[in-house]
């Protein structure tokens, strides 16, 4: 496989300006992550210390194998919600290595509102368990939660993907033979009590751990019974009388060590077989991506420059290099794994959509995992293209993407607008993992276009009543729409709402994708089957 030959001049003013701009964006991302991970009011930390509890990240550090990577997911979830008062949505989830096994870690963060479940806490937890189901990854739950955040109960309780889905997903995992261990490090009250109860194994810490459907105050109110936490749901009661939990532990350290021992005893199924070769570092330094990405969302760039800074040896076998050139398709290796890449180099035309659908079929037949690199303004519009069937050609690509059974990974590299988001395996299309770059944007259409459409609608409404809008009126409609639109198109909004699995520093993309791909191969790859392609 030959190397991509970069066309960029890394000493040009343009490259350096881009690099400076994007390094500042990456630094801002790291600063935000740092705050979400470590900045808490002192009183919350003091309270946990007084209870002899470890902080959630200390617990995770004890759980993971030393020196192994931890791919934290959705670090900035809920960052734009609840006035920013629930960092990380009050929980930490990710893929890590425990006793040599790749596992999903689902940990409550008691330093945020006592670990109370907000609607986005539940969305993040359900997504973590979906990841476990889709990739057949064992789960370690580190439970420490005050229970559901009652003022918002209408938003997290009853719906299909609300709190009940956590427990439903746990049952699905058990049925699939994917083991789970719960470590009870604080209170598991009401719904939260089912997390250890539905895990195959559970460990509980004496003194601080407790499991019950209702805590002592609620019991007193309901029946008048006076009972202590330990009597009602403590470690010794549950491990020697009720059998709700399996292993008592004297400390958090012991509980986590027991859980590591349990994970080490899990059967280790064989991973899906895909082509692999000895990995090779990219010839072009991934940190040059800062200079590749333009400063303006409207500006295009050659995705080959991105591919060259992600894949092994910067080697790329480009498929159909002269056909449908606005979609780059081809093979490469990522940390040794052979992958098929689809990357946007402009708007999708009929030929690019057909090429994409065809290439997905090739990869799917050959058990080659797919990587989608999105920078897409949509499918081409206009009479000529409609007559050529741009909609049905786009439908073919969406059909192929939806039904592909090989693992799909998606990175939002820059813009993601309209149906292009769909054809390139956007969130709704079950990519095993989907990451965003910090400057990327997602919307049904660009902010300017959307504001213009809304102003246009208003003008026509008023014209029917023989009224006209002044320039100020137009600005008054346009500006708030534009501001709201910009905020809600940003990667930080997207990740806050958990439309992705987290924002990546572009320079970390290669490593993050390799961890994700390795995790994805824990699930077998089904045979390829499709729906009907509209010809």
């Amino acid at each position: 496989m030959k190397r991509i030959e970069s066309q960029l001049n890394t000493s040009s003013a343009e490259f350096r300006a881009n690099a400076e701009h994007n390094r500042a964006i990456a630094a801002d991302l790291q600063a935000r992550q740092q705050v979400v991970r470590h900045t808490r009011p002192q009183r919350d930390i003091d309270r946990l210390r007084a209870q002899k509890k470890l902080l959630v990240r200390e617990r995770i550090a004890l759980l993971l194998d030393p020196g192994t990577p931890f791919l934290e997911l959705s670090t900035l979830a809920a960052g734009e919600a609840y006035d920013g008062s629930v960092p990380g949505a009050g929980c930490v989830v990710g893929i890590g290595i425990v006793a040599g096994r790749e596992v999903v870690i689902n940990a409550g963060d008691a330093s945020v509102k006592g670990g109370a479940w907000y609607p986005l806490t539940i969305k993040k937890t359900v997504r973590a368990l979906d990841i476990a189901i889709e990739n057949r990854l064992p789960v370690v739950h580190l439970c420490d939660s005050a229970g559901g955040f009652l003022p918002m109960q209408a938003e997290f309780f009853a719906d299909k993907y609300a709190a009940g889905r956590i427990f439903r997903n746990q049952c699905m995992l058990s049925k699939m033979g994917v083991p789970q261990v719960a470590v009870v490090l604080g209170h598991c009250t009401a719904g939260g009590a089912y997390v250890p109860a539905l895990s195959d194994y559970s460990v509980i810490v004496r003194g601080t751990g407790a499991i019950f459907l209702a805590g002592p105050p609620l019991v007193k109110a309901a029946t008048g019974e006076e009972v202590t936490v330990d009597e009602l749901g403590g470690a010794d009661m549950h491990t020697s009388i009720s059998g709700t939990a399996d292993y008592p532990a004297a400390s958090e350290e012991e509980a986590i060590a027991i859980s590591r021992d349990i994970v080490g005893n899990f059967a280790k199924p064989e991973k899906a077989k895909v082509q692999w070769q000895t990995p090779e570092a990219p010839l072009y330094d991934p940190s040059e991506l800062y200079g590749v990405l333009p400063r303006d969302i409207k500006q295009g760039f050659d995705m080959r420059e991105v591919i060259a800074r992600i894949v092994d040896g910067s080697r790329f076998h480009e498929y159909q290099p002269a056909y449908g050139k606005t979609l780059i398709c081809g093979y490469a290796h990522l940390w040794g794994y052979r992958i098929g890449i689809l990357a946007n180099n402009g708007v999708l035309f009929n030929d690019s959509a057909l090429k994409g659908a065809h290439f997905i079929e090739l990869c799917n037949r050959d058990r080659t995992p797919l990587l989608f690199l999105q920078n897409i303004t949509g499918f081409m519009v206009g009479r000529e293209y409609e007559q050529r069937g741009i909609t049905k050609d786009g439908a073919k690509m969406i059909m192929a993407t939806s039904n592909a059974t090989v693992p799909k990974l998606t990175v939002m590299c820059h813009g993601s607008y309209g149906a292009g988001n769909y054809g390139m395996s956007g969130r709704a299309f079950d990519s095993r993992f989907l990451f965003s770059w910090p400057q990327s944007q997602i919307a049904v259409m660009g902010a300017d276009q959307a504001a213009n459409v809304l102003v246009d609608v208003k003008i026509r409404q008023l014209a029917r009543c023989n009224q006209q809008l002044s320039a100020e009126d137009i600005a008054a409609i346009r500006e708030p729409v534009l501001d709201d639109y910009k905020r809600k198109s940003s990667a930080y909004w997207s990740t806050s709402e958990i439309w992705d699995d987290g924002i990546l520093d572009p320079a970390d993309t290669r490593n993050a994708l390799a961890i994700a791909l390795s995790a994805a191969l824990n699930a077998p790859i089904d045979d390829a089957r499709y729906g009907v392609f509209r010809m």
Binding site: K2, R3, E5, Q7, L8, N9, E14, L283, D296, K298, Q299, G300, F301, K325, T326, N345, G346, V347, F349, T377, G378, M380, V381, G382, G415, Y417, G446, D448, Q449
Partner: protein, 167 residues
Amino acid sequence: MHHAFQLDEIEYGVELSRSATSYRLHLKDEKIVDLLLHAQTDGRIQLSVDGQQFDATIAMRGDEVFIHLDGESYTLRYRHPLERLAAQHLGGATDGIRAPMPGAVISVAVAVGDTVGRGQALLVIESMKMETTLAAPRDGVIAAVNFAAGQSFDRDALLLSLEPLTS
């Protein structure tokens, strides 16, 4: 395996096949000799060509191979066959810069007669709300600029051309 290396601007083809223990080098007139490469603990490499022994030090950076052998230094450049064969027919297809999509020209950075280097920005176009910079596919001289800023064009329109290469 067919390989090619460039040494002092001259390209050498190398054909290798596997032997039971290492490789065999195929020379002209169907002559085949055994090759053995043996890494020493001090980082040097012992090379045996048809039974003759050489000590060498080899370092690599990307596709460049630096060899120290018998008191002489050599720099070889590995040439991938696809790159090498494609380069032989460069020009022709790369004389014209065509529009990858319909749109309008935002700015033109060059004029007829300008000498441009490979990768140099030639013009910026806008299509479907996205700006794209078109760059020179090879070194050359601008022969024609067919559209000015503000003008719109269809897909595949010839926007700009380079003087053909003379062989």
